[in-house]
């Protein structure tokens, strides 16, 4: 059985000694009786592409607006580059923001929009002109310099907003749903462009998004938020492979969850008895667990291997194929186990028009590697 142990630490940000560029300390924000942000602490490091991910109403935009200075925390403090900015107004912060609506100034041309921030700094007009054309080249909108915002398409407006926010070379750029208003094709293309620009300029990007795919594609790290709290902060890879809660597992990608209790735990291997699964499950887990503890095993659909013959080793489940969905690149299968629990697994369609090896009503055996699944205690 091939065993791929995860690297002990593939998270370069966890062990950094450097002063983080953003330090959020126990920040809470209430509106009336509702907690929009509930006691969040967070460090973001220089040069990161950091995403605040979550469903709408989870507090991610409120947190971003507090970083920008548009909301004041009810309690807690925010440091930027070592300086306490909790009560510093937006026009004195070394931060710029790209707004979800782009917020372009409708009575100014593209060039005037980009120059606005530089003019506030009383930069000489020659330098302003240089910087403006440099920014327009960066986002490839040189030809639009004299257009007004209402003469631009959605994608062009997005570029102008980006150029305007980057023009002052801020230490941090905040982006509120930067790709939310673009159509799917343009969004995918722009994701990579944003990452390229971020790498080229070395500016720390903090992005708010509700789209998990977007966060996975672009981020160095993701903070998953839920009901005003941070559920998990991790690299996209660790976030997917090692979610720490059922919510995190379910929010990013699909997951199969089996409830059970710990039978024994030795040599970093946990044996879990699950009536739902109808078999004992073996999971690699290095933190100690107590016998008898209620626990959930999480398995991603693509980690499941299908065999036709029965086997009574751990992690072998038996069921009947109920549903098949062909999506082009992969097919999704729904299996019903003897307990009535439904399990989802996916297979890549490697060969075109290959004879379907699996079909409705067929009895199959499922299994997975103990290193390819996780246990969730919350």
């Amino acid at each position: 059985m091939p065993q791929h142990r995860p690297a002990p630490n593939d998270n370069p940000w966890a062990a950094s000694d450097e002063e983080p560029i953003v330090r959020v300390e126990n920040v809470t924000k209430t509106f009336g009786n509702t907690y929009a942000v509930d006691d969040i602490s967070l460090n973001i490091h220089r040069g990161e592409f950091f995403s605040l991910l979550g469903a709408s109403g989870c507090g991610k935009t409120t947190l971003l607006r507090m970083l920008g200075g548009f909301e004041t925390p009810t309690s807690g403090r925010i440091f930027i580059d070592g300086q306490d900015v909790t009560h510093v107004p937006p026009y004195e912060r070394p931060i710029n923001m790209m707004f979800q609506s782009y917020a372009l100034f409708p009575h100014m041309t593209v060039a005037q929009n980009i120059a606005f921030g530089l003019k506030q700094d009383r930069m000489p007009s020659l330098h302003i002109r240089e910087r403006v054309s440099e920014m327009m080249a960066l986002v490839q909108i040189e030809k639009l310099a004299n257009r007004k915002p209402h003469q631009l398409s959605g994608g062009q407006r997005q570029r102008v907003a980006l150029a305007r926010a980057l023009a002052k070379h801020p230490k941090i750029l905040l982006l509120d749903e930067p790709l939310g208003a673009l159509d799917k094709k343009l969004r995918e293309q722009t994701q990579f462009e944003l990452v390229n620009i971020q790498e080229r300029l070395g500016i720390t990007f903090i992005v708010v998004t509700h789209d998990q795919e977007e966060a996975m594609t672009m981020s160095s790290r993701i903070a998953l938020m839920h009901e005003g709290r941070i559920e998990q902060v991790d690299t996209p890879r660790r976030m997917y492979e090692f979610p720490i809660s059922r919510y995190a597992a379910g929010f990013i990608g699909s997951v199969n969850l089996f409830h059970g209790h710990v039978v024994e735990h030795n040599n970093d291997m946990v044996l879990i008895r699950s009536d739902e699964a109808g078999a004992d499950l073996l999971v690699h887990h290095s933190q100690p667990l107590l016998s008898g503890m209620e626990i959930t095993v999480a398995v991603r659909p693509e980690k499941i291997i299908v065999r036709e013959q029965r086997n009574d080793e751990p992690n072998h489940l038996h069921g009947v194929i109920q549903e098949i969905a062909y999506l082009g690149d992969v097919s999704i299968y729904h299996i019903e186990l003897a307990s009535g629990k439904r399990v989802q697994f996916t297979q890549s369609n490697v060969q075109a028009l290959a004879e379907q090896p699996l079909t409705w009503g067929q009895e199959v055996a499922l299994s997975w590697n103990p290193y390819s699944c996780g246990v969730l205690s919350q």
Binding site: G68, G69, F70, P89, P90, Y91, I95, N96, M97, F99, Q100, S101, A103, L104, F105, P106, H107, F116, G117, Q120, D121, R147, H150, Q151, R164, A165, K168
Partner: protein, 271 residues
């Protein structure tokens, strides 16, 4: 389409007649030779000449225009501030009562406004010696009081539809709040300011009731002169004056229309 529905054409013509017959007859009779307004006795421009020799009438017109312009300017400033307070500080205490109080003059009968202001001015003169007597100042103050309500409503609706994040973006780019107001907010609400100014100007130029209450000797506005002279019988001079005002107003409306049409065409061309 109109050809198929003759009734529609008839209705249209009747509608236009209803709206414009009085104005057209007024214009025609301003060129009447006769002193009797209802008897046509030949074409003449003599009432226009007489009009320009009628000093009291011209003075009243000048007074009215002066008051209207000052009133509109002051009402724009106060009305915009009130609108900002109403739209931007929704959470603040007293927000609702401010909204009601600012717009109360919209629904208050003019007679009551005029009377109450007169009483106020008299009481104030007794107490603090200002305003001294009734005159330009009191008419202006009275006009600002009710014009401001209209301006507030006009500017408020524009502000309420404005995307707040545009101002936040300006703050974010380093502009202080006052600068944001002058470089971003004002240009964006400029059309509503212009509309509000014109509205306030017209309301003031138009007002007879309130001005009658708070005016004093030597501060007669045009509507007051027109009204008092009509009571002695309609003079063709008034017709001439009305014709001039109509000409000025329709020219202004025409020019505004042409400018707006050109802008619209340019917008479409560039798109």
């Amino acid at each position: 389409m109109l050809k198929r529905y003759p009734l529609l054409i008839v209705m249209l013509i009747l509608g236009y007649l209803f709206l414009y017959m009085p104005i057209v007859s007024l214009v025609i009779y301003s060129f009447n030779e006769s002193r009797l307004v209802t008897v046509w006795s030949g074409f003449s421009t003599k009432w226009y000449v007489e009009l320009f020799n009628n000093k009291p009438l011209l003075n009243a017109a000048a007074t009215s225009i002066k008051i209207a312009a000052l009133n509109a300017t002051a009402a724009i400033v106060l009305g915009t501030l009130a609108a900002l307070a109403l739209v931007r500080f929704r959470q603040s205490r007293g927000h609702k009562s401010l909204g009601v109080m600012v717009t109360a003059p919209l629904v208050m009968p003019e007679v009551i406004i005029g009377l109450s202001l007169l009483l106020l001015f008299v009481a104030m003169e007794d107490l603090i010696g200002w305003p001294q007597g009734r005159g330009l100042t009191t008419i202006l103050l009275a006009h600002i009081t009710f014009s401001m309500a209209y301006v507030t409503v006009v500017v408020q609706s524009r502000l309420a539809h404005m995307d707040r994040s545009i101002e936040e973006a300006a703050l974010d780019l380093g502009a202080k709040p006052l600068k944001v107001f002058f470089t971003i907010t004002l240009p964006m609400i400029a059309p509503s300011l212009l509309a509000g100014w014109l509205l306030a100007f017209t309301l003031s130029l138009d007002d007879l009731v309130i001005a009658s209450f708070v005016s004093g000797p030597g501060s007669t506005t045009l509507p007051m002169v027109v009204y008092s002279s009509v009571r002695l019988g309609v003079s063709p001079e008034i017709n001439a004056l009305a014709t001039i005002i109509i000409a000025i107003v329709s020219t202004a409306v025409l020019i505004a229309g042409v400018i707006m049409y050109r802008q619209e065409m340019n917008k479409q061309k560039r798109l």
